[in-house]
């Protein structure tokens, strides 16, 4: 019976040791994994929260910025209208300039006619002086008048020429000034038109950018929701593993108890089973308890307890210790 008690005691020892080792190993794998997963979930929630904050902030900012761009766009429309008004002014000024030119040309022509008339008057006065000289002393007063007329004609001719020259100069200057002014106006008008186009492009870009950002946020939301769903699927599995470990623990306990009952209460086992048969029974039991433990190690443990007296095993172990 002592031998039987020691066998049972040994079975207890081995089963407890294996059960503890397996459970420790499982826990060491599963617990950090569960902690990591819970940590990942927490971090994911933080990231989601921060992302939502960022999204709301971006939307608020983009709304304000969009309003500013819209206002700027409206102001640029006014500028464009103003530019178009300037162009109209240029066109009108061109017309006016043309009118002025025509009038100056007309005045010039009139001035030339005046010069012609003055020239003829001069000729007439010269003729009158000649006639007055032929008449003699009675034509003297007429000769004076003729000279005076000639002088007036010369003055008229000179004044008319001055007026003509002055008007031509004025025309040239005003043409130069007007062309400069018109060119500058046209240039400004073009610049404003280009500014307006740039603003329209900026508006379109911002609109598209906002759509793009919204899509990114939406995709991120979908991704994080999917990740959260996947994590939630794993959680029950982890919980089940915890439950499974409990079940292993309970099974180990009940197996130990059953083995005790079997060895203590079964008279057949106590009396009719040989040592080797009992050894076989124990080996089978131990093999089911673990997949990693080598059978030889189990046998060696059995030898230590006195359950197995396999000299074959001890011979082999003799060769497996080398001291250098």
């Amino acid at each position: 019976m002592n031998t039987q008690s020691s066998k049972v005691h040994y079975v207890h020892q081995v089963a407890r040791l294996l059960e503890e080792s397996i459970l420790t190993e499982l826990r060491s794998i599963i617990r950090p994994l569960a902690d990591n997963l819970f940590g990942i979930r927490e971090n994911l929630n933080k990231v989601k929260f921060k992302t939502r904050e960022l999204q709301e902030s971006f939307q608020a900012d983009s709304h304000g910025f969009g309003a500013s761009v819209w206002q700027f766009s409206e102001e640029s429309k006014k500028i464009q209208n103003y530019a178009e008004g300037m162009e109209q002014t240029v066109l009108q000024s061109e017309k006016n300039q043309n009118e002025i030119t025509k009038q100056i040309e007309s005045t010039s022509q009139a001035s030339e006619r005046i010069q012609d008339i003055a020239e003829r008057i001069k000729l007439l006065s010269i003729n009158a002086s000649v006639v007055a000289a032929r008449v003699g002393s009675q034509g003297k007063e007429f000769s004076i008048i003729a000279q005076e007329v000639r002088r007036l004609a010369e003055d008229t001719e000179s004044s008319s020429r001055q007026i003509n020259d002055s008007m031509n100069k004025t025309l040239q200057n005003s043409t130069i000034v007007f062309e400069k002014f018109a060119n500058q106006l046209r240039e400004k008008s073009n610049q404003m038109r280009e500014i307006r186009i740039s603003i329209i492009n900026l508006e379109n870009f911002l609109r598209n950018f906002k759509v793009f950002i919204d899509l990114i946020f939406r995709d991120f939301d979908n991704f994080s929701d999917q990740l959260e769903t996947d994590l939630e699927k794993i959680s029950p599995t982890l919980q089940q593993n915890e439950i499974a470990m409990q079940q292993i623990e309970n099974t180990g306990k009940s197996v130990r108890e059953n083995m005790t009952v079997i060895f203590e209460n079964d008279s057949v086992l106590q009396s009719d089973l040989s040592e080797s048969e009992k050894q076989l029974l124990l080996n089978t039991f131990l093999r089911h308890m673990t997949t990693r433990l080598e059978e030889k190690t189990i046998q060696n443990w059995m030898q230590e307890s006195g359950l197995s007296k396999s000299s074959e095993v001890s011979n082999k172990t003799e060769n497996e210790i080398v001291l250098f």
Binding site: T297, N300, E304, E320, V322
Partner: protein, 120 residues
């Protein structure tokens, strides 16, 4: 009480060896070579039991590093491994191992071997 460091990646084997020695020795455990080296740098160790095939630094690499530490030049190191090839044993000897034990070994034999080596 002398201190033994067991470097072995299998928790089951580690527990089994530990349970056979814990009554007599203070036991430190490492699940890989790198952890074993960290412990050796901070704890006084009187005996090393090193598995060969471990992640993050195998038994040979750990042995080489231990022998380069002045406090462990003469400390006994037993390679406790399933490898039984002669070329592995030769390499272990060259790196400075005290002995080579092929698993499995009876706990009582292992205990006896350790006592014998520590007695000198």
């Amino acid at each position: 009480m002398k201190t033994i460091l067991i470097a072995e990646d299998s928790g089951i084997i580690r527990n089994m060896v530990k349970s056979s020695l814990i009554d007599t020795y203070r036991i430190l455990e490492a699940e890989d070579g790198k952890k074993g080296l960290e412990i050796a740098r901070s704890e006084p160790v009187d005996f090393f039991l090193l598995d060969l095939n471990m992640p993050n630094m195998n038994g040979f690499e750990l042995l080489r590093d231990l022998r380069q530490m002045s406090q462990f030049v003469r400390t006994p190191v037993i390679m406790l491994t399933t490898e039984a090839r002669d070329d592995f044993k030769t390499k272990g000897k060259e790196l400075g191992a005290t002995g080579w034990v092929v698993k499995p070994i009876e706990p009582s034999r292992l205990r006896g071997l350790i006592e014998k080596i520590l007695r000198g």
